[in-house]
Symmetry: C2
Subunit: 263 residues, 2 copies
């Protein structure tokens, strides 16, 4: 499956217009999936406006993006602030040309930037099937927890989508942590970052698509970019035959890492 990553838009303004242009570009490249950044519909570092702009998962913005997916034939994963009654989540939704497939609420909130405005999600593994691949959804800081990616792999995730808003000086996450996740848990990983600046934050771009061998199939620089890469199920099967991490685990040795809980 050809997969596209929209690292953008760099400028504030007509986000859905930019997203429609990116989807058209993805379709022209033969892509069946377009992955966009965290909170792409509204901006991420927007303070109380996250609450003003939050919409239900089937709200007007979702319907417009579903229209873009239907019009271009490209499934779209995008971040947005989700309202559910009096709660607001930092969410990612996957919308196929034929309708909404899955909605995930960020479970690992990052610092005050997230915690001041969002309720943490309660469900770790959210998946959907697309073009014969089992897709999983995470958001930004979530992917820094290898346990969560492992839970995805054990639940069958083959292609992990990670919309993000990674700022300087955390390039290590895009350059090192994401490729390590793909290799150690034997899945394709798509990391779709914001670019440019918001208030005092400078996003570092560096969106990527990584194969289960840890090979970086496509990598963006700092600026706006539409990345294209092929996610090949045969390459996944070949890698899992060679790299047997998922079956070489010894869960009885790790019990301490799932003891206790932070309610």
């Amino acid at each position: 499956m050809i997969t596209a990553v929209f690292q953008g838009p760099a400028a504030a303004g007509d986000v859905l217009g930019a997203l429609a242009t990116a989807a058209a570009g993805a379709a022209a490249a033969g892509a069946e999936l377009l992955v966009c950044p965290e909170m792409v519909t509204t901006g991420y570092h927007i303070g109380a406006r996250a609450h003003e702009l939050a919409e239900p998962a089937d709200g007007p913005t979702a319907r417009r993006i579903a229209g873009i997916a239907a019009g271009t034939g490209v499934a779209i994963a995008y971040g947005y602030p989700e309202r559910d009654h009096d709660r607001v989540y930092n969410s990612v939704q996957l919308v196929a040309p034929h309708g909404r497939l899955a909605n995930y609420r960020k479970t690992h909130l990052f610092g005050d930037l997230d915690r001041e405005w969002f309720t943490p999600g309660a469900l770790a593994v959210v998946q959907a099937d697309l073009a014969g691949l089992r897709i999983g959804l995470l958001i930004c800081y979530d992917v820094e927890f290898p346990e969560l990616v492992r839970a995805h792999a054990l639940a069958g995730t083959e292609l992990l989508l990670v919309p993000t808003a990674l700022m300087r000086p955390y390039e290590v996450v895009a350059d090192v942590v994401v490729p390590a996740r793909a290799y150690e848990s034997q899945l394709f990983a798509v990391y779709a970052n914001r670019c440019d600046t918001e208030r005092e934050l400078t996003y570092c771009g560096r969106s990527c698509v990584v194969s289960p061998t840890g090979e970086v199939l496509a990598r963006a620089g700092a600026g706006e970019r539409l990345l294209i890469a092929e996610v090949d199920p045969a390459a996944l099967r070949a890698s899992r035959t060679e790299n047997t991490h998922l079956t070489d685990r010894r869960p009885e040795l790790y019990r301490t890492i799932t003891e206790g809980s932070k309610a």
Copy 2:
């Protein structure tokens, strides 16, 4: 604490002589610790000779290395085939100038290369205190399992030593997985690889010392090398204040990753 990594010896022959030279070099650089590769005393890819050459943890080779540690004032972590009655383990021992501190048996055996000759270790987290730092020991393939490094971090490991025998084409482990471990579990990681060739294997070198921010403090190329880096407890404390992965975990979401066991 100044830490040295001996990526070698490149040539077969007087391994303990080479190790003594490396320890003297480490001492001259002010190091209190020297980390050597997996199975440094005998070679790694040696087939049945691993059983012939295996010694108890307090055997003659251990006593000679303890003598080098005492003579140079440098603690030495080194890999060797360990005999315990009728079993042979792929082990690493940490020997301080004042005596043996800890012995770890590889828990995650790598393919037929390991499984044909070694019994897997039963204890995941082996630690010792040295120069005010809590040291942890793992071996090669072990470090590719983030659960195991997490278990170390939660048990208090601050400096993780990983003697290894990493061969081509698995450079991704040295370049990407080890730095990811240091960052995600907030500890210093020392990865001490073999160099040169054994039979059909070519080791890729690339030994490294990585800080908890993911910064590579020192990195070897392919050939024999004595690396020197400073492991600073104050930098660890500063990084853990900034990067709160260990306290931001949500263990209740990962329960599936420690269910079941492969006996």
